[in-house]
Symmetry: D3
Subunit: 335 residues, 6 copies
């Protein structure tokens, strides 16, 4: 990309006032961007820039060449930021010298680059996507399988990189794909135990239940809720995707209504976002598997992030407690 | 309809065991109908029949000619019921002699007949409907007005007789039309005071916000939630109606999304059924007018139903209290 | 048992006043028994008797020979009740002529007898118990397996007939065994998908999680909460059982503490009875499987109980809605 | 006021360590003032000073002449602050050189001065007050009108400058007057639509409903809850004001009790501060209009504060969401 | 009172259809009275009559002499009811022959009469009242003591017979006096342990905290909420009583405000009716003693009402459980 | 301890950048200690050190001699910290020069040392402990008294220094002992007023109710929840202690079960941690006294911490309000 070494945010934060005006370069995501007007009427922007290890704020005035670059790049863009060390109110807040946008192709071309910018699902995205397609192929009812296919043709790649949430579970790149594949595995394992559940319908419901999130969230690296996400929510957006695809695939009205119902009810309780309570065997089944894998996803991430030395994780909001991260039998108990 | 005088349920309940086997005839709504199988394998049905003044249960065996009549008529039908006085466990539970279905045309042909069968909105439905159409005509934005028109062409007459709720406010025939017209009046009165609200969009949102209820409820006389009502809910059903109509009327995408958002958010809180919180000036405005007229509708009904002698109404669940029904200044206070 | 045909409660309720004083005999469970004192100082009892199809109340005075029989038999006993048809306040309320206690052995000796008295799990209890023992044998860690064995030796048969709940899910004879086996099956199916979960510990936790219910509930046919159930609750009672067995089996302190934690946290939320939030991978896993199978158990029971003619079940409190009971694809949808 | 230019807080915050000890002067509100004792026994104070654009903390020791000036001025006073630039823990924290109190008359004498110190209602306070009096004059019932007049004579000017809340809606100077006038306008517009509401009583209730806030809040520029506000709350304080005025105006007992009831119930739910649930048509009507205008006030303020470039406002706690601030039809939707 | 023996309701309920038209006489409280209009326009009333042991409904037509007697007597009156045995829908529902009002003096003249009509506090009301006055005399601060005296002069006898609640704790005749005396005893016992609490102020607060209930409830035998109770609530009514008395007794403003605050905050949480949270040491102390004695009052009543044979009481809504009523050490535990 | 004066944290925070590299020494508690790994693979720790007046963070690298000292000392240790003044991101963050652990004996040997490190109960711990033992001696039932003795022999000294909570009430050294003695005093004062409460059982329950906290919390100076505290909670831990001691003391099964029940139910509501609702007179009594003294403890602490000049305390989360801290009658009210 360039010859100067690119410093991660962790290193930038190690600078102190003695380093004032030192030049540096970094590869950063535009995490937040607010346009403002100074009391003298001049425009400026307050921008938060960061990578996986942290972020900092900086103010850029309207007459800086970086102003227009960042304004048109927008939130979620990745930029090569060349600046000079500076501080504001005791915090690192550099002056921008030159800012250039780095296209997504360039990022994905080099291994490890995106992983340094944002958290990424631990399992390989390519492998997950292959497995995901196997689950689609395994649906035996033709129109149902075509309905599922049709939705993924419509939404395209977004499904592969989207996180499953902004803050709670599987909240990282590819998290949606990972969570969906994990649910599909659980569905396949449990279906034989609950014969009253139509396995095809449950599997189709699982594959589709969160597809509205590909519209609710936007930005491939700095995720935020889109206008449609705020005005409609992923439950209704997913319902709409499924309905359109089902009509196109000529899925029979009974199955289509049940499939739509799985999407509308999978959040469990209205106060968590469900449009209605689950009222078919398949909808109850899917919403319980969703809940199970969401919680287990929080467990898995806490285990990954906790170095072996600490006995417990930090308090996990989704579990309402700290998690014991030490493996079973490795050490004596507290008694 | 026939020559024997038709007795209302209130009179049927006045019979006592001394009247055993006395013949009678009544005009009744089939309120609930459950098919069952006796331990000997024979089919029978438990049916609840009633009019505005009350209801009673009766059991009809599979070999009675009334069995097939009622089974194919279904819940919500109106029947001429000829029976003989009988009691079961001390309660009135007549034997059916002859049951004939009365077609809806016949009911509406005679004034007062429907009013005796179910509670009806106090204002004249014809007048309300005329006024309703004036509100549609008052929408100045062409595609918006055409969108509204298109929804009402799609749902047809159901909107005119549907209640606004099964149990809470405006829960009576024509209640949905009445509630919507009352909200439209309030919208017209308040729009000049809140210029940040787009008056056309707010009015269109009000006229359409509850149209999903014409699908959520079924039965013109004995209302119950339909299969689609249970599996999708009126919020999503209304959203779908509006979306289809807006696309057909070529409404611009910005307005259509805002109109859909009004429908999706009008219930206020997710736990009351809103898909998302109101996030546009018009959506906030419509949800507050909905809330205001719903509460005032409970007040109006309690005032109508309370004879002048009692100072307070019964406890009203929607208001969490009894209502002081005595007019202002008519009597001294309690001090 | 005897020569007079024994009438089920459903038939008793078909009697009417014309049958006054007719003699009859029935096999009945003593569902509730309250001792009272009349204003003249004489003792009497109000007793509720019933079978699977219903129940009725009857008053028995202190000078009746049935009084002492029932008083010493107590709630939950099964009696052969010979009486004469009578009514009180319009309800069936027979006079007792002769009451004899039927020992449990006699009941289980004849197939179908218990099934007529109370609801019984649909799967065969013997088969479930065999499968249950296979799950115990499958635990590879010796002290863990011995801990599990030890608990079931301590509580004995009660585990095999106890319901899993008084009112919510699997609330019928053998329901606890059935629910536990269903959870063990799910555990076995899901363990390979969540390798961070110690499969042995999770399985042991599942087999033991509800064992406190064998003490919380008492009575093999008319279940009610025992004194210890009211004063301590099944979570603490189960914890105590597990702790005692673990110490006896010399289970290492780390595993014992984790196993106790599964029992203490399996209810999920403190307001549902959990002593603490689940804070180990195994405890999160077990509580989610418990929740999944509890909900699916409600679905299964609703499907069993709903004759094919009705499209929806009654409203199920545990699911907050009615359940669509018609099989997929059997009929067109509501559109 | 003086010859040195007075710098707003925004400019003070632009100083950096290089400006150390530079003299400056500002016009500031005393926002918070805490008296403390150092470990050596000497008194000092920690004081927060600010204007509309921000605030900073500074420590003033007991031997500084500014100490006594600020101690006797108290929270809410406006001072001319002359100081020297300094920093503490990296934050701006100047040394005080000379502090003088600026009397309120002087502030209001110069246009724009108060507007720079605190947020002010957008509508002209004089015009709102004139309109407010027209609403009083429009009450046709003599004793009712006299009761309203009497309350405003008692509380005097405080009503004109008080905010309607510390944090939620209309939380700025004149906000209480503005909110009350907006409600009165809505009342006038809606009264003809709800004839069961006594228009005079509803209007009187609206004009008086929040008058307790003039006692609950104190300080004209830095508002905080007063001792009486904490110990009694504005609902009870307003009730007391209305009761006293009604007795003085010889208002009939029936109307007085209903008027008091409007004040006691206008908050809607006990958990939001209502003493009782609204139980008269007028009380239901007033509490719903209060709710409507409170929410619309949040919308209006968010629209005012949001520069055109941002599509959505920040998350508004009172609406539980971000607000779409872009005008209808100005841009395409997100589709 | 009369020569025919007066039958309690328990005996009336023992009549069966064989007793049809048998004459009887009873002393009964008018518990509920609803005026209605028949479809033929004739007035009638539905009245609930009862004594301590139960109640029944009966319908009285406008042309019966009993109609006017009951209409003017109103709810809460005690009547001598002469009637003939009859049944309606299988329930006891006599025909009224002659109804005469029994004045309160006559009731209290004969020992045991009131105790048969309603539940009465177990402690002697005269003794409680004497003790109550000792607590007033014990207040050392003169104006505070005079304030307390003054309130009880104002409300008079009502305080001595009023229940402390309609449904929850101490919900019986003299219950308010009993509960207040119990709290005063606890206050006296605990004051030395919490010296930061002003003992005089806490005692005055306790004696006065519930005095608003003498206005909130009306009727000495069939208690119901009065118009002022519904429109203002006992918290505000008590505050008003205290304020008036304090001003009259020239209590200093500081103490009066604190005393009013105790009344306004004693319910603990706004959702339980507190106007504000307790914010003085005395107010926290009083609200906690109130809570303690309310719960202990439920315990005491459950112990009184439970015959020794049953181990547990019925489920007590205020305690969310059944109460173990067997004395300590009388029997072995359940183990 | 040493010759350099030991500076409290308050003085350390007064250093500014001009003092860079100045040497100092302090006596500090290790409040939090997190082991981390730098990107170059080297270990370092982030440690929070503090005394009663505040705390600061500092980073210590693996090659510093202080690293191993602190790692083996662990959280809760007291150290003599010799360092050099430094800042990070504008905050005080010194470099460690020499760190030595100070044994607990040395701390307690010098009066005032512990008081400077952490907040300590205002009453003398020795006196509280003597009084505590008098309450044990006062239990007349032998096995009950022996059960109580046995628990305190088991848990030893921890009970004397443990706080009663991490954050809410009596959250300071000796707080648990202080809170328990205060409850015992209240129990003694109130027992004669509630004769249905077994005084011995209630007193034993009070002395034991929170003993599980000696296991739930660990660290004598920097309290945190232990592994057992997180996995079982103090309610279950206390129950286990009581059960073991009761069995050892051969307490009769009835009393033991009731005593265990007091521990299991004392938190009042399941959502606050109670295993079951209080269902015996003693358990209701104890849980209400616990609640009363917890609230009064918050009042007492707020009064202690508030200098006389401020009329109100800060907002107290446990009381949901600010507390009026000015003594009664010292100043006029706000009117």
């Amino acid at each position: 990309m360039a010859d100067t070494p690119l410093l991660p945010v962790r290193d930038l934060k190690a600078f102190d006032t003695a380093d004032g005006a030192k030049p540096f370069a970094s590869l950063l995501v535009v995490k937040k961007l607010l346009l403002k007007t100074a009391s003298n009427g001049n425009p400026f922007m307050s921008v938060e820039l960061g990578d996986r290890g942290g972020s900092f704020n900086c103010t850029i005035f309207g007459d800086s060449p970086a102003f227009e670059v960042l304004k048109s790049a927008g939130e979620g863009a990745v930029v090569r930021f060349e600046g000079k060390v500076d501080f504001y109110q005791g915090r690192f807040s550099p002056r921008a010298v030159r800012v250039t946008v780095v296209p997504e192709e360039e990022l994905t071309a080099q291994p490890g680059v995106i992983e340094n910018l944002v958290e990424v699902a631990p399992e390989d995205a390519g492998g997950l996507w292959t497995e995901f397609n196997t689950f689609i192929d395994g649906i035996t009812h033709d129109e149902l399988r075509m309905t599922v296919r049709s939705v993924f043709e419509e939404i395209g790649d977004a499904f592969r990189w989207s996180p499953a949430a902004v803050a709670m579970h599987h909240a990282y790149r590819h998290g949606l794909l990972e969570h969906t594949v994990h649910m599909a595995r659980a569905c396949q394992a449990l279906s034989p135990l609950y014969p009253e559940v139509d396995a095809d319908l449950a599997m189709a419901g699982i594959l589709l239940h969160d597809t509205g999130k590909t519209i609710e969230y936007e930005g491939t690296l700095a995720t935020k809720r889109s206008r449609r996400g705020i005005l409609q929510g992923h439950v209704v957006l997913g319902y709409q995707l499924v309905r359109k695809a089902g009509l196109k695939a000529k899925l029979d009205a009974d199955r289509l209504e049940r499939l739509e119902h799985i999407v509308l009810s999978h959040q469990g309780e209205p106060e968590w976002g469900a449009a209605v309570y689950a009222a078919t065997p398949e909808a109850v089944f899917v919403s319980m598997i969703d809940n199970l894998d969401a919680k287990m996803g929080m467990v898995q991430r806490a285990l990954r992030q906790n170095p072996e030395q600490n006995e417990f994780s930090e308090r996990l909001p989704g579990l309402n407690t700290m998690l014991l991260t030490k493996p079973v039998g490795k050490m004596g108990s507290s008694e």
